[in-house]
Point group: C2
Chain length 263, copies 2
Amino acid sequence: MKLIADNLRVTRPEIRRALQRLDPEPVQDLVKACKARGAWAIDVNTGPLGKQAAPGMRFFMDAVQAVTDLPLLIDTANPDAMAAGVKAARNPIIINGFSLEPRKLAQILPLAREHDAAIVGFLLYPDSRVPTDAAQRFEVALELMEAAEAAGVAKERMIIDPVIPPLAWADGIVQAREVVKVIRTLPDLLGFPVRTIGGISNLGTNAPDRAARLVIEQSFVAMLAAAGLDYALLDILNPDLVRAARVSGILAKENLFSWGMVS
Amino acid sequence: MKLIADNLRVTRPEIRRALQRLDPEPVQDLVKACKARGAWAIDVNTGPLGKQAAPGMRFFMDAVQAVTDLPLLIDTANPDAMAAGVKAARNPIIINGFSLEPRKLAQILPLAREHDAAIVGFLLYPDSRVPTDAAQRFEVALELMEAAEAAGVAKERMIIDPVIPPLAWADGIVQAREVVKVIRTLPDLLGFPVRTIGGISNLGTNAPDRAARLVIEQSFVAMLAAAGLDYALLDILNPDLVRAARVSGILAKENLFSWGMVS
């Protein structure tokens, strides 16, 4: 299980200010910290960026790529910003992402073929509603795979995000289990080892304190690892969570163990 | 997932001394501490007890039952000690346990019928070797269920222990995953919701430090909970592990969630 930093997001005040001032330093400091903690990749969550889509995205991509050659997930729902990000990419990238929403099918999905990039597909309905059980998610996954094929995107380029819900949602805990089930069974259902990604930080939305959030995330990341999750998007600056995720990945996958691997 | 204290064991020096002196106080202090931490049951691990099987077991059972009415797992490989323990029981008991070993089939399994008690069946070969994959474990489980039926023990009385291995074994990490798989699939395979139990403390045998052991146990207990484990036998005096186990049990099973459940 590869760990992707979700720390770089424009909703953080210091990152929003950095964008407003076009000051790369706070962005770069954050990226260096994520890299130092062993992130396999960095999610660059720019938000929609409004009318400054292209220059805003270029600011982020240039700032980040000046200090790391790690893979980058370009994380925006705005097709113009996504196109600018893909164009500005020198590092390996993952387009994050598309869904059955018509605008994304039309404008984001084709970028994966044009730039031969991996792309995340969200298990959401065209109007962005969340499916309510595993069976509905399977149907959406099949539609995403068909859409990718129709757009000339190889299935091996696809990474499915079943969208981990906040536990605080009315049926969040049931949906979280459905997500685990989808991750475990989707490769068999699709008949090939499709890769999966999950955003761990969603789960603990509105947690009353860090300790409660941590224990939830530690347990859930272990369940995801056991289900075969390929990419965990998480707070890479939380060492307790990262250790739990690494150890869970080892328990889920490695065939040799020594205590040195977890110390 | 119910949590069973594995703390009361004769291998602990103060418990061995208590037995030698027939001094119930150290035993009772430990049981009270386990109860205070919310143990659902106490595993009374007396060891074989040698020639003092009956009086030794009576000492433990009397000491424990004087301070708690929690369910007790009577944990000994010695049929004479087990018979004495079952006879001395006033609390609800679980016989822990039997295997395909001829002596245990002949002398321990019948105690479950005689005393209408639940009984743990270990997935081990008759010579106590450990099966090396899930398929072998399924075969042993079927043989245990057949033996129970032949002895007049209702299948609902059976609790299967697939024997969690130390990770430090040559293929311990692979076997640990096989155990998780067995727990997840055994109820379907047997066609009824057979209960399962797992000893978490085995996993971390020879851990270099408490922190490494904890992170392994936290991750693995979450994987076991997600697989549907009914009873986790663990160090109930380790609050970090217990919190992880409780939260994992919630994530694995509950249909309503509130942050108050994990705080």
